[in-house]
Structure formats: structure tokens, C-alpha cells
Symmetry: C2
Subunit: 341 residues, 2 copies
DNA sequence: CTAGTTTGCGCACTCGAGTGTGCAATAAGG
DNA sequence: CCTTATTGCACACTCGAGTGCGCAAACTAG
């Protein structure tokens, strides 16, 4: 597009090659002036001005594809996340896009739909596209298809694969799990149910580990149910929990969408939060302050995670050494957890 | 990346050129086999098999940049939206990415941050990148920088510029505004305040027009305040409304984030919805069902909008004729609007 | 006015893949 | 067995921009 119009006459869009022809100089010269190498290649001031003016006048638009081929880079970074429409990831994408644009790069948006097969498919689609780097939240724990990328500028974000030499930025999920569980324990809860997101996701696993560290001190075995960072999972898992003979006194959901589903389910059963049952969730979102009741949550500093990940990737692009980061979450206390006597 | 490793020995990633050299045939032949043109160019079955096997064995990865240069297309579509982290747009992006991937294309994610200057900057960044098409929700009403794209495969989504010959898919915002206002009127509301999103956005303007059609029948002049599809705008505008001597009996917010801010503000003043004041919002979101109280909203069929836009773009890529679409919204009734006597 | 230096610019190559055409080797026909 | 058709493959070009190097013209110096 953009260049296949017939009306070349209008001042929009003329390739470097065409411009060279219209002003009657070689492409070489134009290329050098545009690249700012005029001095280096001893282009006369006169000629330089001539080219500059013409570029301005005719609206020079360099063919980036050709440029990319020659330069062996594309100023493009791929961002692969499980679902764009999970607020956690959409915010992440927002910050990433913003920061990368500031650095003159563009973002290729890839979604794995939490499906390892799609992840592999997408990976093969971006292979060969000569992207400069990759930011990815891997779906599962399978590391084979990332193995070949260990020496490439890749940074894991939110999730990671420990057995690979690929740096990552993530919430300290164990600590988050720990904090959340502790919060419940301190308020007298003993019958605590965990509704997890995707069991395969490392972030999820770490959250569960953190929670276990607290709950294992109790006699009770921890109950972890559910499958998927979705509203549906939250809804169905909660219904199942509520139907049991001994209902938990508190539910800890491990994802913002899961919490939404849980709330729906609890309300649909005519129960009240936190009077009848308490609810706390991992991953705080703005609207948690407005739900009924406002939800207490373990907040992940998404902006910080996203910016660190971009910084790290930019560092890797310059071959600077980087080291993985776990960022501390904290509890945002609202009104969804009651004190149990 | 992906190819700059030294260990070519491992079966990951060998370019067409390299593969040709390793099996001792010309690149031409490999290229033709891979492109499926074996028959057309009379490549022998034997040779074809040989190439196919080698491709499989060595893990052929074609250099897409070179391919793109030669083919004058990139199988990439740019999606330019104001903010990725507005749930409306993140869902839109989700569907778009999904559908385009199914068609073998990738998505270049661009954000304009509701800023016309950034929009222009981004537009110039994708110019020359030889993208196949563009899906865009334009920021304002300025059409000059899109003028040059009239004959290119561009589709406006959610917002549009009527004076350009560029097709669009959008909610029928006038009708949505009409429905929402009518809903309030029918329930006895007369003092209605509108908190708009961005006044420059066509979608917003149309909503206001639709509302006016209903409210102009009343004696009252319509009160439209606010600026921006943000939580902050919702919050501040609402506070200002609440501080007036005659408080409106109902507020109609023209964006999902605006509604969130409005709720916060109302609650912070110790007022209750819908007893003290009613609230209805444009653009329904899943969590609206869980707020306190559940919010009544004018729902836009985002999936339908996104899919239509993609369909339309794919049609344009095949030079099929397309015509713009306005999709009907409808009211999702919940509990945030009271009957006023 | 000539020898040497500097300045200014463009040729011809590169990046990696796709394609029209030509040239051998083989097969078919008489 | 020789001619003609057919098959099989690769040369050399293309896409558009970047770059080493060389060759003229202009300038300086002797």
C-alpha cells in the first residue's frame, strides 16, 4: 500500500530510488544524504542541500523492507502474550508499545491464546521475519521450542522458563501468594479454597507455592481447583465450591478474570461477600475498587514489569548484560475479606 | 535474530540460500519447490522430493524480509487504536489479531494515545513498511493525513471520517445515544447530564447527536461535559456535576472507563446509585454486571464490529467492493437506573 | 604548466528470494 | 541413427537501499 497508487504526481510518497531519478543524481548519493553519511562520503554541501530539499519537497518515503533486508534488522519487536483482552496483558501491551515506540521501534502483536500449539505456530511465523527482539509470556513449561532462542534477544515477561538461559521479569508470585494467604490466615480463615488460573503457567504455579508455604502450617490440605485465567473458570469453580458440604470461608482467586467469575457465582447463589464468604484475588485492576464489595487484591506493578522488560530487551539488543528480576507485589486492602472468629 | 547464531549445525533455521548450497542445487530450484511451483517450472519429482526432505531435515526458514521485498507485500496489517488498555479496544485488538492470524497475517500494533500528532507520527512510521492494509480508529476529525490513503486498503473501525472515501465499521452511535436517552426519559428522568468521552471523536459526537434527538424534545438544554475516555474524566466531571446546586437525577457516560470514574466519584460523595442518582453508560463491559450496583449500559457488539472490519479489509485486499456498516447497539438493563416519579 | 592532492560523485557489488529464458541432457518419433 | 520434442535445471536478472572503491574533475603546490 501507500506506494502503489498511480498518482505519483501528488507529493505523497516517493521512494529513494524515484527521487534520485527525478532530480538526476545517483541513488547512492541520495541514500548517503538521507542516512546522514554525507560528510563521511564527501558529498558537497550543495548536493546535500539539493537532495534534502527534494526529499522535503517530494515527500521521500524510504522503502523500509529493502532497508531492513540490507541492514539485517527491522526495528520491530514481537510481543507474544496469551490473551490481549485480559486487562493484565492489555495494560502490559500498552506500556510496551509506548516505550518501544519511543525507541523508534514497532510492535508485532502475537497472541498464543494460552495454547502451546498456537504458540509454536506463531513462533514459526515470526521466525524469518527478522524481528530484532521478542518479549514473550510463555504458555506452559515446555521449553524446547524456546531453546533455540537462548542466544537471541528474548526476554520473558510475567512468566518464564527457569531451565533456559533467557532473562525474565515477573512479579514475585511466590511472595504474592504468601502475602495473600497470610492475609487470610491473620483474619482467622482456615477453610481456604484456591481457584487457580492455568496450572501450566509458571506464574500460577509460583502463586500456589507461595500460598502453600503459609497454609502447610495448618493441618488442612490446601484445596486448589480450577483451570484457566477466565471468567468462566472463576464462575464454574466457585459454584462447585459453594455446592460442597463444607463451604470454604474464603476464596483466593489467582487471576483478575477468575475473581470476576467468582463474584458472579457467589452473587448468583444469593450469598454476600464478605459476610457469607470472603474473596481475595491476585492481580488488582482499577474496577476492583468499584465492585460490590470492593475487592481486596494482591497488586502486581504492571507498569514496572513492562518497563523493566522493555529496558532489559533494549539492553540485550546492545548486548549489555542483564539479570532477571522479580518484582514485589503488595496487598491492596478493600472490603471483600471479613474477620472470622 | 533467530538466524545470527553460529551453530548452524543444529537443525533450527537454515535459509533457502543456505539450504540450496548444502544440498548442492541452485536457489532457484529450492525457491520453486518451496513456493509450490515445482510443476509449473518442470522440476522432477525426484528433485522435488530431495528438496522437500532437506527442507524438513534442516528446518528451512525463509527470510521473509527478502520475500516481502520481492513480492511487494508483507502479510502484515497495522492496527491503529487510541489506547490498547481501554477494554473496548483491547477486545477489538484481540478479535482482530485472531482473525488475521487465521488468514496468515500478522498485526502491527500501533497506538495513537488519542493524540493527533502521535497518530501522524505513527502513520509516517508505517509508511514505507509496505504493510498490506490498515485498520484504524482515527483520533479526530482532521482528515488530511488520511486523504492519501483513500485508494489504499484501509478500513476505519469504531470511528470514521465521513468526508473520505474510506469504508468504516462502527456502532450506530446515534442510535445508541438515542436508546440510552430514551431509556432515561421513559423512567422519568428530566435532569440528565452527559459526560462525554473525547469531543473530537466522531463516535462521541454521534452519541451526543443521538441523545440530543431525544432530549431536545424537552425544554431543558442538554448538558454535555467532560473530555476524554478516561477514568479520571469520569471522576472529575462527576464531582463537578454533584457539586452543582441542582444535581442531575441521571448521568449518561459515553465510555466504559468514564462510567468507572463516575461510580468512584458518586461513591466517594456517599451517594448511592440508583437511589440518589442514576447512571447509564455507553459501551458495556463484563465487569459492569459486578459493580455496585450492576450497571445498565448500551452494549456495542464488539466482536461483530471487529470481525466485520477484518472481513472488509480482507475484501479490500482482494479488491472486492465493500460498503460501510453501522452496527446496532442495544441496552443491557441492570440496576443502575431508577424510576423517577 | 605539470605533478600531486583533494574533492565529488557514481559504478557495481551486497542483502535473500522470485522469475523469464536459455541451454544442456534425455526421450520420442521416423 | 538422426532429428525433433520434451524434460530438467540454472544463469542472470529483479525487488530497493547501503557501501567499498575507483575514476574523473577541481584544486593546490612547485
Amino acid at each position: 500500500m501507500f506506494l502503489n497508487e498511480k498518482e505519483k504526481s501528488m507529493n505523497e510518497g516517493m521512494s529513494l530510488k524515484e527521487l534520485a531519478e527525478t532530480i538526476g543524481v545517483s541513488r547512492t548519493t541520495v541514500s548517503r544524504v538521507i542516512a546522514g553519511h554525507a560528510q563521511k562520503y564527501r558529498i558537497s554541501k550543495t548536493m546535500e542541500q539539493k537532495v534534502r530539499l527534494a526529499a522535503e519537497r517530494y515527500g521521500l518515503v524510504r522503502n523500509e523492507v529493502a532497508h531492513n533486508l540490507r541492514m539485517q534488522k527491522t526495528d520491530t519487536v514481537a510481543l507474544m502474550i496469551p490473551e490481549v483482552d485480559n486487562p493484565f496483558f492489555s495494560h502490559l501491551a500498552h506500556v510496551v508499545e509506548h516505550r518501544l515506540r519511543e525507541s523508534g521501534r514497532m510492535v508485532l502483536l502475537c497472541s498464543s491464546s494460552e495454547d502451546s500449539a498456537i504458540e509454536r505456530q506463531v513462533l514459526s511465523m515470526i521466525r524469518g521475519r527478522q524481528i530484532d527482539g521478542l518479549l514473550v509470556a510463555p504458555v506452559g513449561t515446555e521449553s524446547t521450542h524456546f531453546k533455540a532462542l537462548e542466544r537471541s534477544p528474548v526476554v520473558f515477561v510475567d512468566r518464564y522458563l527457569e531451565d533456559l538461559a533467557i532473562p525474565y521479569v515477573t512479579t514475585d508470585n511466590r511472595r504474592g501468594g504468601f502475602l495473600g494467604a497470610q492475609y487470610l490466615i491473620e483474619r482467622g480463615h482456615r477453610e481456604i479454597a484456591i481457584i487457580q488460573g492455568l496450572p501450566e503457567a509458571v506464574s500460577n504455579q509460583d502463586r500456589v507455592v507461595g500460598i502453600s508455604q503459609v497454609l502447610s502450617q495448618l493441618d488442612k490440605a490446601i484445596e486448589v481447583v480450577g483451570h484457566g485465567f477466565t471468567i468462566e473458570n472463576g464462575h464454574e469453580s466457585t459454584l462447585r465450591l459453594l455446592d460442597k458440604e463444607t463451604r470454604p470461608t474464603a476464596i483466593f482467586t489467582l487471576g483478575n478474570q477468575v475473581a470476576l467469575g467468582a463474584m458472579q457465582a457467589i452473587q448468583s447463589r444469593g450469598l454476600r461477600i464478605p459476610d457469607d464468604i470472603s474473596l481475595i484475588s491476585f492481580d488488582d485492576q482499577p474496577y476492583f475498587a468499584l465492585t460490590c464489595p470492593p475487592l481486596t487484591a494482591v497488586k502486581q506493578p504492571i507498569d514496572l514489569i513492562a518497563e523493566s522488560a522493555v529496558q532489559m530487551l533494549l539492553a540485550r539488543l546492545e548486548s549489555s548484560p542483564v539479570s532477571s528480576k522479580r518484582i514485589h507485589p503488595h496487598i491492596v486492602e478493600r472490603k471483600s475479606v471479613s474477620q472470622v472468629s
